[in-house]
């Protein structure tokens, strides 16, 4: 069929009109007057499927926002895919979201290996890879990777806070460190040493590492105890953390014991270790803990409980993952709100890097999200907490930036 003159003229006119419309509203892929398409990748199956509930909590939060009218009149539609914590699958799903579904951005991919797999791709394609669910320090590298941003406090930030606490309360401590021999363990150790500064060499009397493949950490614990240390920094994942806590107690060592936030869950670490043996442990927190009695009547926890009952009734009210998902989704909505009608990928990144004193109620009082063009680490402060045999009890000031 030969296109008629009028048809071409109409098309041209339509084209001209849409360019004038562009002057006011700037839309990237996946955006229209009615909706914003957000991509999401999460392990709903596989070894990390316990985290799958985060995706469901996020979806529930967007549903709530949409029912209340959306953001600036637009519905947030999330396309969520399962990668089973398998990096090749993450690559495939990220490409599907970017190239086929044409989403504006990808939100909250989970885990260090899956995110590493798509790190280069997302930055080459210039698609925001926002608020990734891992604490590695490398997500805060705006110079090399201007399209990727973390969210939770990174491991180094956290380790510096333990260091500061030790320097303040026990300046002559003799410290033993147990760490998992991989990027996660080394990230913590590096931050810890940087936090101790020049005194690191004299204060750390013994370091021991273990492999994820090791059956137990008993021999490492014996070495650390034999070093005569009186303070212990425990950089381990839940299974090993439980072993170390039990061993430190049973062997009669009983040092001042700092446990990384990774294993701070009462259910997966402290209960197997023995709640009585966990009394006096230190860790850090940045979210309110919905299981903690001190927050039971806090407006944030009350609001969250009502939200869960209405939008995610099958969700577990004890799982901290559901609280986390609710919290991180609020940050995403804030960025979209700030972007207004200029919903390009560039502006999304710009707004994500312009969060100023954003303090959703899910965070501990005093913790604020601040980002800038050179600071891609949203949450950089935490609060110390001590275990009283039943709950983590937060104390002291919020520390960090």
């Amino acid at each position: 069929m030969k296109p008629s003159f009028t048809k071409i003229a109409t098309l041209l006119a339509a084209g001209l009109l849409s360019t004038t419309a562009l002057a006011q509203k700037n839309y990237g892929p996946g955006v229209s007057d009615k909706e914003i398409l957000v991509g999401h990748i999460n392990p709903y199956s596989g070894p990390a499927s316990a985290y799958g509930t985060i995706g469901r909590a996020i979806a529930a939060y967007f549903k709530k926002v949409n029912e209340e009218g959306g953001v600036n009149g637009r519905q947030i539609n999330m396309v969520s895919y399962d990668d089973g914590y398998s990096p090749p699958k993450t690559v495939e799903m990220a490409r599907k979201l970017v190239e086929q579904d044409k989403v504006l951005l990808i939100f909250q991919p989970l885990g260090t290996p899956p995110n590493t797999a798509i790190h280069k791709y997302m930055n080459a394609k210039k698609v925001p890879q926002l608020f990734v669910a891992t604490g590695a320090t490398k997500w805060n590298d705006p110079k090399k990777f201007p399209w990727t941003m973390g969210w939770q406090p990174n491991y180094q930030t956290e380790a510096r806070i333990y260091a500061a606490h030790i320097l303040k309360n026990k300046p002559n401590a003799k410290i033993a460190v147990l760490y998992q021999n991989d990027d996660y363990g080394k990230d913590y150790l590096e931050g810890f040493k940087a936090g101790l500064g020049a005194k690191a060499k004299t204060m750390i009397v013994k370091e021991a590492s273990y492999e994820v493949t090791d059956p137990t950490v008993d021999s490492q614990m014996a070495q650390l105890q034999a070093s005569g240390a009186d303070t212990f920094f425990n950089i381990t994942t839940p299974k090993f953390a439980a072993q170390a806590i039990r061993k430190a107690w049973d062997s009669g060592w009983k040092p001042v014991h700092y446990l990384n936030n990774v294993s701070a869950s009462i259910g997966t670490t402290l209960r197997p270790a023995g709640l009585d043996k966990s009394v006096g442990l230190f860790t850090t927190q940045y979210l309110k803990d919905q299981n903690d009695k001190q927050w039971a009547s806090d407006p944030a926890v009350v609001e969250w409980t009502a939200f869960m009952k209405k939008y995610y009734p099958e969700g577990n009210l004890v799982a901290t993952e559901n609280f986390y998902g609710w919290c991180v989704a609020q940050t995403m909505v804030q960025v979209i709100k700030q972007a207004g009608n200029n919903l390009t990928r560039e502006n999304i990144m710009k707004q994500a890097a312009s969060l100023k004193d954003f303090a959703p109620s899910c965070l501990l009082p005093g913790i604020k999200i601040n980002t800038s063009a050179s600071d891609f680490a949203p949450i950089e402060s935490v609060r110390l907490a001590k275990f009283d045999g039943k709950d983590w009890v937060g104390f002291g000031e919020v520390m960090g930036k």
């Binding site: 709903y44 199956s45 090749p88 690559v91 492999e211």
Partner: protein, 320 residues
Amino acid sequence: MNRRQLSLLAIVLAAACVLPFLVSEYRTFQFTLVLVYAIALLGLNMLTGYNGQISLGHGAFYAIGAYCAAILMDKYGVPYWATLPVAGAVCLFAGFLFGLPALRLEGLYLALATFALGVSLPQLLKYHHLEQWTGGVQGITITKPDAPAFLAELGITLNQDQWVYFFTLAVMVVMFVFGWNLLRGRIGRAMVAIRDNHVATEAMGVNNAMVKSLTFGVSAMYTGVAGALGAIAIQFVAPDSFNIFLSLTFLIGIVIGGLASIPGAIYGALFIQFVPNIADDISKAAPWAIFGLFLLAFVYAMPAGVAGAIRMALARLQRK
């Protein structure tokens, strides 16, 4: 091969060459993975379909191939195409060595031995003395190859995905022709004979032990080359990429595609690439239950695999 089969093959190849110009880059990437899996499945099919040895650990050879390519490219600056022969050779050797003791194991015991290999390799990759090469849990990120300059001089412009697709397609065609030659010849007949009756085969003068370990080696080589190509296409390797589920997926692929069938490897590859995605589209809550339903449906409807079903359909058509 008769003329009809040859012309059919030519049409399929032509279609495969046109495909990346018709679909999006993302689909091209998916089809590249199909080709990669097809090579791996042909390798496993030689071992299981033709020779009757069950392997639950071929993901390990896939991983070895992938790491060979990644380490050579990342640490030694070897061009991507040169990594394939190395990956193949390393896996041939590894497979042959593993095949020697595994010979004493029959059926389910061999399946368990290979399962042990498949389960342990991802953890061994994290071993800290190997970390300087393997990158530990972090894995290795590699750069995607561009189409060679001479193509541009000829006026053919291909994007990276299209180039990797054609490169993989070329390797696959070579590997399939080689495999077809091997399987229809003396060695191929010996492999099948061992599967059907190893005592009779031995009596006929075939060196059972040699043929079985060689089959293991060649099978591992195919899977290793596929692993290297997969690493190049995905641009990233990490221990988490090669869990035991990958090995099981390969086994599913050859059974669904058709045991002891060369085109079956391609059908199986299409199945393992696309059916999980379809299942995920149908139900977010229970994708693996849907996948299981697909699996059951295929097994019931096509007991000899897709290749067997097609063979039967063609035979019925010819009779009419």
